[in-house]
Amino acid sequence: MRFSLSDKLLAYLLLLPAALVLFFVLLFPMVSTLLTSFGIELNNFNFTFDNYVRLFKDPEFWNSFKNTLIFVPISVIGDLVLGLSVALLLNQKIKGRKFFRVLVLLPWMIPSVVTGATWRWMYNPISGIINSILLRVGLIEEPVLWLSSKSIALFSIIMANIWRGFPYVMLIMLTGLQSIDSDIYEAGTIDGVNSWQKFIYLTLPNLKKNIIVVLALTTVWEFRQIDLVKTMTGGGPGSLTEVLVSFVFKQYFEFFQFDYASAIAVIMSVLMLIISIPYIKGILAD
């Protein structure tokens, strides 16, 4: 079938609404942020690197950068290890597998603000359930300040974050596991390979694609999520649990440092784009 010119026109017309929305809400703000970070405004054209220089000298920026470098990798690894383990568990022949799968997905389904509020309540040092259990079992002798003591506050948020994030990884891994041909395992059994070797040499290589996708996606998600930090500690106490996202938010909407906040946001986006390149390439190649 040959397409006439009007067909081409129709094709572009169909794209128009989506393109307009993406332009106004995504593309324009993106470009605008980039320009603002270099001091360029509509009526004010003085190019400068000041915001980036300031950023490199700002201990608050490095603090949130460091926290992000703790928060993101530990969350991602936690998601991956727990998600893969539970997927292997749910891939066994057990009764009510579908039902269990939906139950395990619950933390991922509920709004993350709810997760933040609930965990904050469980972490409550005085009447929270976590301290109460640990005290009774005898693992701790006095109440732990989960969300305000220096050495653990960030890790307490990470714990809640893994609870929220791992079910999605589990779901993707389970789809991957179920698409593996069971013949290769049978061949392995005949050759006298044990379960651990089967996992390393047969299962993992077959999951490689799923693992790459999940790694890229969860890294990007954890990088930009603000909900848990916002609801559990608000970045505090002080700036103890501040991550890059919450730092940008504060600079923009609380201190109104538009150009400085833009510079941080640009640095963040560059980091994220670098991380997601393999993923984007993989999908476009499909």
Partner: protein
């Protein structure tokens, strides 16, 4: 020999069920604790040590939450932003997906690649300048501002997912209707739409839930109580000096209901689309 192998396998089963029990406790405990707390009185929720089950089950939380904060307005706002978001993002995404799936034109690949890349950009990079644009058009603190924002965030997912659905419908089918003298539009409504209906519903529901669960955009783009969404209401309440936990947990529980109901039904549609669209979070 046969007997031994049977015995070994039997033990494996017990280990698996034990591990599964541990996982389920970990997964379900916070949700159960939310439910248990919501059924306690304010005094009982603050008891030290906390009681495992409410001594007296009360609906105090579910009654008090509406007085504590105007949650009725919050829920209304969440519905009024998430609903139109679902419609717009599915409609716009569907049109774009149809264009890319059924026409050949030079910008086709570029458009899909661009759409995918936008998904990698953090929301904080966008809300700032978007906020300025809204101020200029006096759209700050309106439903429309949130709807447009969420639509843009959900669009890439909708476009990629619906393109997948449209691609799976053989072109011969719509070409057959064209031969019958129908236009492209009737082909769309007669062939494509009915065949990809489950995908369209799944896409719409997904966009709805994305808007329903969002905090960042609501936080940055609304300022008045009368525009606040449920998630924003919960996030604001949790940081206050006096938190009435049973009421807050009751509100949280109600906020979970649409998410849990819809996701449970639609998980199988959403998984495949999510890995491509790369949204949520």
């Amino acid at each position: 020999m046969k007997q031994i192998s049977k015995k070994v396998r039997f033990n494996w089963k017990i280990v698996i069920y034990l591990l599964l029990a541990v996982v389920l406790i970990y997964v379900l405990f916070p949700i159960l604790w939310m439910i248990i707390t919501s059924l306690k009185s304010e005094q009982e929720a603050l008891l030290i040590p906390p009681t495992w089950f409410p001594k007296k089950i009360t609906t105090f939380g579910f009654r008090y939450m509406w007085q504590m904060k105007p949650f009725l307005i919050y829920f209304k706002n969440s519905l009024l932003t998430a609903g139109p978001t679902a419609i717009f993002s599915t409609l716009f995404g569907g049109l774009a997906a149809y264009s890319v799936s059924r026409f050949r034109f030079p910008l086709r690949k570029f458009f899909m690649g661009f759409v995918l890349c936008t998904q990698m950009i953090p929301g904080v990079l966008l809300v700032g300048p978007y906020f300025k644009v809204l101020n200029k058009f006096q759209l700050y603190d309106t439903h429309l501002a949130l709807i447009l924002g969420y639509t843009a965030v959900a669009l890439p997912f909708c476009t990629w997912m619906l393109k997948g659905y449209f691609d799976s419908i053989p072109r011969e089918l719509d070409e057959a209707t064209l031969v019958d003298g129908c236009t492209k539009f009737t082909a769309f409504f007669k062939v494509i739409l009915p065949l990809s209906f489950p995908g369209i519903v799944a896409t719409g529901v997904f966009s709805f839930l994305l808007a329903w669960g969002d905090l960042l955009w609501a936080l940055c783009l609304t300022s008045s109580e009368s525009m606040s969404t449920v998630t924003l209401g919960i996030a604001n309440s949790v940081g206050e000096y006096r938190v009435v936990w049973p009421a807050l947990m009751a509100a949280a529980l109600i906020a979970c209901v649409p998410s849990i109901v819809f996701y449970s039904f639609l998980q199988k549609y959403i998984v495949s689309g999510m890995t491509k669209g790369g949204v949520k979070g």
